[in-house]
């Protein structure tokens, strides 16, 4: 088997917060983690 070491970077959320753009970004999307799983739409 092949072992891939995973790095753990700062999350995008932390990076955007540090850049001061997170709140504004999240205001503009209706954030729901489940949207990721919506079936493909044709």
């Amino acid at each position: 088997a092949v072992r891939i070491s995973l790095k753990k970077g700062l999350s995008i959320r932390d990076q955007m917060r540090a850049a001061g753009v997170l709140d504004d970004f999240l205001k503009h999307i209706k954030y729901d983690p489940v949207k990721k799983y919506q079936p493909s739409q044709g």
Binding site: A1, I4, L6, K7, D23, F25, D32, K35, K36
Partner: protein, 329 residues
């Protein structure tokens, strides 16, 4: 076709590893994501800011690249990434997949990807989820006999550092990385690595929320533990959390005495201690929990077991028997 995959879902993801594509190999850092099924990386054609600070694939520099031409719009909720399909040699250490289909982003307007520590995504969900019906990297590995066993497993460190957040093992299981037996649960819907959640308990009391059944998606591309919105208030109350602009805040000094959360999966009870679900950021403690608003496709409450859960449980994805295994890591 368009797959709704909100960029926000990757807002918290930050575990990534190295792959290479093409001949000579061009290297990329990718998120290994069991919650999606496409392999895609930025390309030199992409002029969006999000591509500026990421590695970009140069098709003309690869002797083995074949353009496929089709273009797809992979929607990320707040924006969309336009990818053009092609195929080339994919390498992950000693694994080589020839003519692996992949997406090359042409335009990546979504702001968060500008901040991502990774360049692209290697999806590890089922082929039926892949935009454009492209063959997944895992299917390519199986077809080209690149894996000794048709399984892969994830270990996420409880004390991650930049250089070591955990391990992905392609083609096997490492007994060094877990203790006790593996509890297996069958996949209930072959799109995602989705299993039945039989019950949820807070401390000693069983909540009864899954009396009519619940579903849980095991997703390495989601950081938090996500809870159906109808239960979030009850959980916050049971855990003594307050909603703030930074999330669900708790008193750090209470962490030790907070109840464990227990998930009934595959006939076993998988406990999540407060040390696992409370994030302490410079003395400010929040719950590593967030709400979901949409049910699973069969209408049952849908939970997402993200990295927060996967740090406690070494997880095995069995592609031959379509089942997920959990063992205390």
């Amino acid at each position: 076709s368009v797959v709704r995959e909100p960029i926000a879902n990757h807002l918290d993801s930050s575990y990534f590893g190295e792959i290479s594509i093409g001949e000579p190999p061009q290297k990329f850092l990718v998120l290994f994501d069991t919650g999606s099924a496409n392999l895609w990386v930025p390309s030199t054609d992409c002029k969006s800011p999000a591509c500026f600070n990421h590695a970009k694939f140069q098709p003309s520099a690869s002797a083995t690249f074949t353009p496929r031409g089709q273009s797809y719009n992979v929607s990320y909720g707040s924006g969309s990434v336009t990818i053009v399909l092609g195929s080339d040699t994919l390498r992950i250490q000693s694994i080589t997949v020839r003519e692996q289909e992949l997406g090359l982003s042409q335009e990546e307007p979504t702001q968060p990807f500008y901040f991502a520590a990774f360049d692209g995504i290697l999806g590890m969900a089922f082929p039926s989820l892949a935009v454009g019906g492209t063959a997944t990297a895992l299917a390519g590995m199986l077809e080209q006999n690149q894996l000794p066993e048709p399984v892969f497993s994830f270990y996420f460190s409880r004390q991650p550092t930049y250089d070591y957040g955990g391990e992905l093992i392609l083609g096997g299981v490492d007994p060094q990385l877990f203790q006790g037996d593996i509890t297996w649960a069958p996949v209930t819907q072959k799109l995602y690595w989705q299993v039945a959640l039989e019950e949820v308990a807070i401390g000693q009391s069983v909540t009864g929320w899954c009396g009519q059944g619940c579903q849980a998606i095991v997703d390495t591309g989601t950081f938090l533990l996500t809870v159906p919105q109808e239960y979030i208030e009850s959980i916050l109350e049971a855990l003594g959390a307050q909603e703030t602009s930074y999330g669900y805040a708790v008193d750090c000094s209470d962490t030790q005495s907070m109840p464990q959360l227990t998930f009934g999966i595959g006939g076993a009870r998988l406990a999540l201690p407060p040390a696992a679900y409370v994030l302490n950021s410079n003395g400010y403690c929040t719950l590593a929990i967030e709400a979901t608003y949409l049910p699973s496709q069969d209408g049952q409450p849908l939970w997402i077991l993200g990295n927060v859960f996967l740090k406690e449980y070494y997880t095995v994805f069995d592609m031959a028997n379509n089942r997920v295994g959990f063992a205390l890591s």
